[in-house]
């Protein structure tokens, strides 16, 4: 099961000597929109290590679940606990998110990262260092002064990921980050995620690309009709999924 050498609260948090963020516990979490329960009394514990993939058919509630975890929307009922605590500003500052469609400001590539670091209150000297570091990490340093919105789709998403990583989050959420990207860009994004995980960053990624989940995830959460039908180690999930919807999904069937 879990690596016993990883201290509770997440590796990066432990290294940074701050209060733990993980595990993330969701208890009877419900989110209803116009009378329909998109997330329906969901229970889930996200452990501190590795990359967690959230999978499931369209409309299962994957994106909504991610937004609930990150605090972008408030649950209708139920609880979200970070190492036993409710979300507050300080915990929110230690998270970052990358959206399916890259959201970039009307500024240069470097300007986008600079702006994000500014919002987190990081001083100018440190900001300049981190902007350079993040661009280099994502292989975008040559495009630093380009208007962000004329970059290609793959470059834009790499920039979004670079911006998120420049914040040095403990937890990184991604909502189908490679859904509309070519294989080379997908590979680049996945490489950055694996590297981030090795630096102790907890990664939670929504994907319905089975291949991507196989390549990245240590554990898989399978979502169907707003509920977790299974949460397994990736190996055993892909070898022998227990729930009927997950079996059908992996077999390439249409899951309703």
């Amino acid at each position: 099961m879990l690596d016993p050498t990883v201290p509770p609260g997440g590796l990066k948090a432990a290294l940074d000597g701050v209060r733990p963020l993980l595990p993330l516990e969701l208890r009877r979490l419900t989110y209803a929109a116009s009378g329909k329960r998109v997330i329906d009394r969901l229970d889930l514990t996200v452990e501190e290590r590795g990359i967690t993939a959230i999978m499931g058919p369209n409309g299962a509630g994957k994106s909504v679940l991610l937004r609930l975890m990150h605090g972008l929307i408030a649950p209708t009922s139920g609880e979200i606990l970070w190492a036993g605590k409710r979300m507050d500003r300080e915990l929110a500052r230690r998270q970052a998110m990358v959206f399916q469609k890259p959201v970039l400001l009307r500024r240069s590539a470097a300007g986008n990262i600079w702006h994000a670091l500014g919002l987190r209150g990081i001083d100018r000297g440190e900001r300049a260092i981190r902007v350079d570091g993040a661009l280099k990490l994502a292989g975008l340093e040559r495009l630093a002064s380009m208007p962000a919105r004329v970059l290609s789709g793959g470059e834009q998403q790499r920039l979004c990921l670079a911006r998120a990583l420049s914040l040095e989050p403990d937890v990184l959420f991604l909502d189908e980050p490679t859904a509309s990207l070519d294989p080379a860009s997908t590979l680049a994004i996945e490489g950055l995620l694996i590297a981030a995980q090795h630096r102790g960053i907890k990664v939670v990624v929504v994907t319905h690309d089975v291949g991507q989940a196989r390549r990245l995830a240590q554990d898989v959460v399978f979502l169907h009709h707003g509920r977790v039908t299974e949460h397994e180690e990736a190996k055993s999930f892909f070898a022998s999924p227990h729930s009927e919807p997950a079996r059908a999904f992996l077999a390439g069937g249409l899951v309703l």
Binding site: M97, F99, L105, L119
Partner: protein, 235 residues
């Protein structure tokens, strides 16, 4: 017909020789309208940005009133400022009636709704796209407003130009609160009205040509800004 051609020639000569009377009027007009637009921009940006970001009861109402005020007739703006500044009015002690300051105030009232409404629209469009990302980054409301104003900069420039176009061309407000006093509050538009009725077509025509050129220049600037913004994918 010869009368008109003569007047046209005289008008062109007035412009070509930089006639002092003409220049004085043009400069005063520019000064009044530019200052009014600067003040209206500061108010309009803040108001428009705040309306786009903050949610409060009556927000829809404020937005609707602002949109309606975009079409405020200049004479009505002039009348309001006249009532405020006249000796019997609440601000009569300031003795501002028939001064350039009064004209600036009247034009600020005319132009602010235009800039505020266009700013709000620009910021709201951007916010729809940026909202989740900015909240994910932990931006405060004021930081969000700052981000939207900067990212909407090209649309704000066009809003300012639109406001300037309205200010420089209006006649009703400056006529009522300025009084069209020679060497003091005579602007291009009020001078054109007066000189035409006096039969001094040449000066009126010269001022009209200058006004047209300014209008064309503002329009060219608008198109240039738009094209530049589109090229950078900033539109």
């Amino acid at each position: 017909m010869t009368g008109f051609i003569d007047a046209f020639h005289t008008a062109l000569r007035l412009i070509a020789t930089l006639d002092p009377q003409l220049i004085e009027i043009v400069l005063l007009s520019l000064q009044v309208s530019l200052l009014a637009v600067v003040a209206a921009s500061l108010i309009g940006f803040a108001l428009g940005g705040a309306l786009a970001v903050y949610r409060f009861p009556g927000r829809g109402m404020v937005t609707a009133v602002l949109s309606a005020l975009m079409g405020l007739p200049p004479v009505v703006a002039g009348l309001i400022v006249y009532l405020l500044l006249s000796n019997a009015g609440p601000l009569g002690v300031l003795q501002l009636l028939y001064t350039p300051t009064a004209m600036i105030v009247a034009q600020v009232i005319l132009v602010t709704p235009i800039i505020a409404a266009l700013t709000r629209q620009a910021c709201e469009d951007l916010l729809e796209e940026y909202d989740e990302q900015l909240r994910s980054l932990g931006a405060s409301s004021s930081a969000i407003i700052g981000t939207l104003l900067w990212d909407g900069r090209y649309r704000l420039i066009t809003a300012v130009l639109a406001g300037f176009g309205r200010a420089i061309a209006e006649v009703g407000a400056v006529m009522i609160v300025g009084g069209n006093i020679d060497h003091v509050t005579r602007t291009m538009t009020t001078a054109i009205a007066l000189e035409t009725s006096k039969g001094n077509i040449a000066l009126a025509l010269a001022l009209g040509i200058v006004l047209l050129v300014i209008a064309f220049a503002v329009n060219a600037a608008l198109m240039g800004v738009r094209r530049f913004a589109v090229r950078l994918a900033y539109a």
